[in-house]
């Protein structure tokens, strides 16, 4: 049963009362909130996710106004995970982005049985392309375009690498877009569903794009490593795809990992498993059509390697 099976009024009632349990990738999350903005965006972007019965969940989260006087001076919101608020409160209007950021924090801080890389990951023909990149590199923009042009979304933000066999484990969640890329993707993928834009966050204006339903339905299908691609958007740049030595790619990916050092030798072996089976490139692009064509060429050659 999907969340969309719940009528809007019942979804809101459940969110306010005992909360809603849903599956996202391999995790079960439990959300409780009385905030209308969160309920509306959750209903919009999570409609295709499996609805579960409680009470088990990997992450129990709540979005709620802070206790005390602050709530009356200026409306704010706390992200509460397992009864604790790990972050400072944000303006109430940022409640839904805070839910997304907070859920990412839950995964990256608690799912230590995976090697977790700060990277988008998409899949085609069974092979995954990992896109590690710093903020502002165009990673999410590219990811959003790819997953509406034949590629499956595993994750926009957190690449989960299984320790035992270096398989890429899906965590398909809404794609987080920022600033100019929001309108770029709204024009490029006009049929996609977006949450309302929220201005003046720490990341500027942000909006989330709903994950394709096919990606959510295939959330139990892991992918084999295929490519590591370091994307960089540059205005007016000609497309270039430059091979990167695997050794150098390894070090760059490790720098983007949340828990590589903590995992020790197991982290090295898992990342080695990914890098050894990946072709690695620096991608510079300015035109999404050209970037997608480059990805498609790589995918078409995958079977010939």
């Amino acid at each position: 049963m999907k969340i969309s099976a719940l009528p809007d009024a019942e979804l809101r009632q459940r969110l306010m009362a005992d909360g809603v349990y849903f599956r996202t990738g391999t995790f079960v999350a439990h959300l409780r909130t009385r905030l209308e903005q969160v309920a509306a965006s959750f209903g919009l972007l999570y409609s295709d996710y499996p609805l579960l019965e409680g009470p088990y969940a990997d992450f129990h989260v709540e979005l709620a106004p802070p206790r005390g006087l602050r709530r009356w001076l200026r409306p704010q919101v706390d992200f509460i995970a397992d009864g604790h608020a790990p972050f400072a409160a944000l303006p109430a209007g940022q409640a839904f982005p805070m839910f997304e950021w907070g859920l990412n924090w839950c995964v990256s801080s608690q799912a230590q049985h995976y090697l977790i890389i700060h990277a988008a990951v998409v899949e085609r023909n069974g092979h995954a392309a990992i896109l590690p990149a710093p903020p502002g590199s165009g990673k999410s923009t590219l990811c959003a375009a790819l997953i509406h042009h034949g590629w499956r979304l595993l994750s926009d933000e957190l690449t989960l690498i299984r320790i035992d066999d270096a398989a890429l484990v899906p965590l398909p969640r809404p794609v987080s877009l920022k600033n100019a890329s929001i309108d770029v993707i709204k024009r490029y993928v006009p049929h996609a569903t977006f949450s309302p834009s929220v201005t003046d966050t720490i990341k500027g204006t942000v909006a989330q794009m709903k994950a394709p339903s096919e990606s959510i339905e295939c959330a139990d299908q892991v992918a084999a490593p295929g490519w590591i691609i370091f994307p960089r958007y540059e205005a007016d740049a000609a497309l270039s795809l430059t091979p990167v030595p695997r050794s150098r790619a390894f070090m760059r990916v490790a720098d983007n990992a949340f828990n590589y050092t903590r995992l020790g030798a197991a982290g090295f072996e898992a990342l080695k498993g990914v890098v050894a089976h990946s072709d690695c490139y620096d991608l510079r692009y300015s035109v999404l059509d050209e970037a997608i064509a480059a990805f498609d060429r790589l995918a078409s050659q995958a079977g010939k390697r």
Partner: protein, 92 residues
């Protein structure tokens, strides 16, 4: 001077064309090493050796540029590998 791998050092490696990623089991650090440095590690993985033997090994395995003295290069590399806790001298 005689050299050996540090006890407990497994030399987990991802080899590549010109450089190799080496995981240091003892420190938890990850190093990016040149092929010639890694060849010394692999030689010491087979058993302890003295500096002269290792210099001869490098001279025979690598086409060193003219002007490079194998003994001096070997000492430099051994010093670097020891600083990373990958190898250690054997007390005489």
């Amino acid at each position: 001077m005689n050299w050996k791998l540090r006890a407990g050092q497994r030399l987990r490696m991802l080899p590549d064309d010109e450089e190799t990623v080496v995981y240091n089991d003892l420190s938890g650090d990850t190093h990016l090493l040149s092929g010639i440095a890694v060849s010394l590690l692999e030689r010491l993985q087979q058993g302890p050796a003295n500096s002269d033997t290792l210099a001869g090994f490098l001279a025979s395995e690598w086409e060193l540029d003219a002007g490079i003295v194998p003994a001096a290069l070997t000492e430099t590399l051994l010093g670097e590998l020891a600083a990373l806790s990958l190898i250690e001298p054997i007390p005489s």
